[in-house]
């Protein structure tokens, strides 16, 4: 026997989650298995579709307009513009706390490094911070959080030519937390609004934070904090701070570990749960059985091999960072099913000398047909019941194009939906 389902999705990032959600909503009995916790914990929580062309043109105003001009091997070209739109609709429905669906145009969001990023969907908590908004802005950094140096970020933003005045101030977080307090510590304090000691007096955390910021506020009409404003109740925290400060409050997305990423992870897992899918995280898929068709895969648990079988499979294990694509001195490979990964024979051709050069490795991943089924070296399907989605796909450079989330959502949606239709 084995643990059975109709569609088995391998991978718990944006691609895997969207894939499982699309398949479950299509009515299939879906099981999602993921080695580790979702990589969304390390993502900014912004959903980019396409910010720049492969040639580096941009920031693009309308990503949909640019999609038909992408190279033929690009995953967006495999699934088509309409699928990208449908996939984002699914996302909007599953994660109602996100904004940006009112327009095709990219939004411009300030980052914690002080640059401006074109993105298609963003958390409601970031919306008052849009760079196209002309309201003057105060950024507030926390002394203990070296990842967000507010005056420095403000100077950078100013240098990008934003249409407003921006200033940065640094405060000590009320309660004097330890120097390397975890982002979850700040979030928990604000979520529970626990009392903290401020000059010998106990004050609820939200109020105490506002008290620190109030005297620093001049004529600015909005205040931006690093993304630490709560895990469970971010909306309530922003509202409370806005009330105390009398201006709009927003969060600037941060690097890992990221609360907006965590919140997005929670929202997607909740949607998946509601759609009736089974979920297991913590153990890797290491092997499979089957020739032209995958019969079953094995999940490894401290040496024990747990068989899981399904009619259709989706491979959404990630790229180099997520370890869905690996390399050694001999070559580049996909470790679970050993799907072919096209790459240059000489590994000195994989990269460029320049740090920000046009590295080939950035586009390495499995190649697929238009149905997202991985192809072998002679362009035949590797397996008839396997599709691939997300960063395990080759043919695009998500870091340069700012297209990672969009490709994961679009290909995840397409792979999941088609797998479900075929399993029925």
């Amino acid at each position: 026997m084995a643990i059975e389902s109709e569609v088995l999705v391998i991978g718990g990032g944006l691609g895997g989650l969207t894939s499982a959600l699309a398949a479950a909503r299509e009515g299939a009995d879906v099981r999602l298995v993921s080695y580790k916790q979702s990589t969304l914990r390390q993502a900014s929580g912004l959903v980019d579709v396409l910010g720049y062309t492969p040639d580096g043109d941009g920031p693009l105003t309308d990503p949909y307009e640019a999609i038909p001009t992408l190279p033929a091997e690009h995953p967006y070209r495999k699934v088509g513009v309409q699928t990208v739109r449908d996939a984002l609709s699914l996302f909007d429905d599953a994660v109602p706390t996100y904004e940006g669906d009112h327009t095709d145009a990219n939004a411009l969001l300030p980052t914690h490094g002080g640059s401006i990023k074109p993105t298609a969907r963003y958390p409601a908590g970031a919306s008052a911070g849009l760079a196209s908004d002309t309201r003057d802005t105060l950024l507030v950094g926390i002394e203990e959080m070296v990842d967000f140096d507010a005056p420095h970020v403000a100077a950078h933003l100013d240098a990008t030519g934003v249409p407003f005045d921006v200033r940065g101030e640094t405060i000590r977080f009320p309660g004097d937390l330890r120097a390397d307090a975890k982002v979850t510590r700040y979030a928990k304090l604000l979520d529970t609004n626990s009392e903290v000691a401020v000059r010998g007096r106990m004050v609820p955390a939200r109020e105490a934070l506002a008290q620190r910021v109030n005297p620093l506020l001049e004529d600015e009409q909005r205040v931006g904090f690093p993304a630490i404003l709560g895990d469970d109740n971010p909306g309530a925290i922003r509202d409370a701070l806005s009330d105390h400060l009398g201006v709009d409050v927003f969060e600037v997305p941060m690097g890992p570990p990221s609360l907006p990423g965590l919140r997005l992870e929670d929202a997607l897992f909740a949607a998946l749960d509601e759609a009736g899918a089974s979920i297991e995280t913590g153990n890797p898929v290491v092997d499979f059985e089957g020739e032209d068709r995958i019969e079953k895969v094995f999940i490894e648990k401290n040496g024990a091999r747990i068989p899981n079988s399904a009619d259709q499979y989706v491979l959404a294990t990630g790229g180099f960072v997520g370890k869905g694509v690996e390399s050694d001195r001999e070559g580049v490979y996909e470790p679970v099913f050993d799907c072919h990964v096209p790459h240059a024979a000489d590994r000195y051709d994989w990269f460029e000398g320049e740090l920000f050069g046009d590295h080939e490795f950035a586009r390495y991943g499995v190649a697929t047909d238009d149905d997202l089924r991985p192809l072998d070296a002679s362009d035949d399907r590797e397996f008839e019941n396997l599709r691939a989605a997300g960063s395990v796909l080759g043919g695009y450079d998500f870091a340069a194009e700012k297209s990672g989330s969009g490709v994961s959502i679009a290909t995840g949606y397409a792979a999941g939906q088609r797998a479900a239709q075929e399993a029925r």
Binding site: Q37, D180, P256, G276, T281, N302, G303, D346
Partner: protein, 456 residues
């Protein structure tokens, strides 16, 4: 196209899954506690820290990244570096393991660091050491108490005695000691006829199910201390459910799994117990048995902590052949189908507020009960969220940790309050204690519901 030098053998990413690595034998041959394995894979993304329930509420706790890879680096660069005493504030929930994208074995490093701290830095005459040792060796106390359960139940919750325990030993008087059963699981098992009776029951079930009577279906039950001394109904449910599926059950000689000892840095105590457990289980594995545990901390210990910390003959074999009780049936039987076709009435026709223990989470079993009972008529199982219960075995019994423990559990209590049901459910005996303590609900084990649904 080649580099001038041959690459070194040392693989900085090891141990990664699927690759062999040598376990660190920390006892008894050497006192070299090696925090190294996997430390170099840490690239400081700090995702582990977002999982730490202690760091979330405790300003003084530096979190899993510091306790593991950072301590290793400090030890390397500074000969005088001693293990930071904050390692004793780690509750050994092991959530950080599941978080690391690089496969750093964080809990192994914490267990090792704690072992070194206790062995080399802790005063063996201190109240804290003695208290921790007593708490960690729950099995010994439980063994004695089970001889006189009524007296023990009275004495352990006798107010003035508890006040003295708190003042002199640092064992919180806030909690009620768990009641000891009037008859232990093992006494019940022996009275019932032991293995011979189980074989008979299994055969009868196979006949009923149309299976060959001599089918090779046999499991060795690792009941752990708690279902032996405190909740024998869980052990009985396990036996009856397995027999219903035609499995012959044996209950081999066993000691404590070691979980409370790992959490208190008592690695030599843990090793002694592990040796007994591995030896009895590995013999049975050779005969074709699988080891089955109903407590998720016990299965975690046998599966992961043993091979990470000890080098005992047969230890890997036992780890590979250990399963959680419901998990095993999901793999080998059509459990889902049988549950879908069944219904429950009476005592267990309830709505349950289910909490997934951290140690089930780490085995990928946190969703199991909720998903399995989704289609069971007569009962509902509702997940109360992913917060840690906060008790973490002996952690919440310590006077100085009690409040932190309750603060961590607050989110779970709230969710339980909001859940439809007023009966709790979990696989972990100490989580059950905390759930009961914080909500006043009675707590059941999924095996009990399974028994009610499937066993006549």
């Amino acid at each position: 196209m080649s580099d001038a030098e041959t690459p070194p053998d040392f693989d900085p990413v090891a141990p990664n899954t699927g690759e062999e690595f040598e376990p660190v034998d920390v006892f008894p041959d050497s006192d070299d506690f090696d925090l190294r394995p996997g430390a170099d894979s840490c690239y400081k993304c700090s995702t582990c820290d977002t999982n730490c329930p202690v760091a979330e509420v405790d300003d003084d706790f530096p979190g899993p990244k510091f306790q593991g890879p950072e301590q290793w680096r400090l030890k390397q660069s500074d000969d005088d570096h001693e293990i930071d005493d904050s390692v004793m504030d780690c509750s050994n929930c092991m959530r950080c393991d599941n978080a690391c994208p690089s496969g750093v074995p964080l809990s192994q490093m914490h267990n090792t660091a704690r072992g070194e701290y206790v062995s080399e830095q802790m005063d063996k005459l201190s109240v804290e050491y003695i208290r921790n040792r007593i708490l960690a060796n729950y099995r010994t106390s439980a063994f004695l108490a089970s001889k006189v359960p009524r007296l023990a139940n009275f004495a352990m919750n006798f107010g003035p005695a508890r006040w003295v325990m708190e003042k002199t030993m640092g064992i919180t008087s806030e909690r009620d000691f768990p009641a000891f059963a009037k008859q232990t699981f093992r006494d019940w098992w022996a009275d019932r006829g032991g293995q011979a009776q189980s074989r008979e029951n299994a055969r009868a079930a196979r006949r009923r199910r149309g299976l060959p009577e001599d089918a090779d279906k046999k499991v060795a039950y690792f009941h752990g201390c708690y279902s032996n001394y405190n909740t024998p109904e869980v052990g009985k449910a396990m036996v009856r459910v397995y027999e219903e599926f035609g499995y012959e059950v044996v209950a081999p000689e066993q000691k404590c799994s070691g979980t409370p000892m790992f959490a208190n840095g008592m690695l030599d105590d843990a090793r002694r117990h592990a040796e007994t457990n591995v030896s009895s289980m590995s013999e049975l594995v050779d005969e074709g048995y699988h080891a089955i545990a109903s407590c998720t901390s016990c299965s975690m210990a046998l599966r992961q902590e043993y091979p990470e910390l000890f080098d005992i003959d047969g230890i890997d074999k036992v780890a590979e052949n250990t399963f959680e009780a419901v998990e095993y049936l999901r793999i080998h039987e059509d459990l889902k189908g049988e549950v879908q076709a069944a219904d429950v009435d009476g005592d267990l026709a309830e709505e349950f507020a289910y909490h997934a223990p951290c140690h089930s989470r780490n085995q990928g079993l946190d969703r199991q009960a909720v998903e399995l009972f989704r289609d069971l008529d007569g009962a509902e199982v509702e997940d109360v969220g992913d917060s840690c219960s906060g008790i973490s075995g002996t952690y919440g019994w310590k006077e100085e940790k009690y409040e932190k423990s309750m603060e961590i559990g607050e989110e779970m209590f709230e969710h339980m309050e909001h859940a439809e049901g007023e009966t709790g459910m979990t696989e972990c005996p100490t989580c059950a204690m905390q759930m009961e303590h914080g909500s006043g609900y009675e707590i059941r084990h999924p095996l009990e519901l399974l028994e009610a649904a499937l066993v006549e």
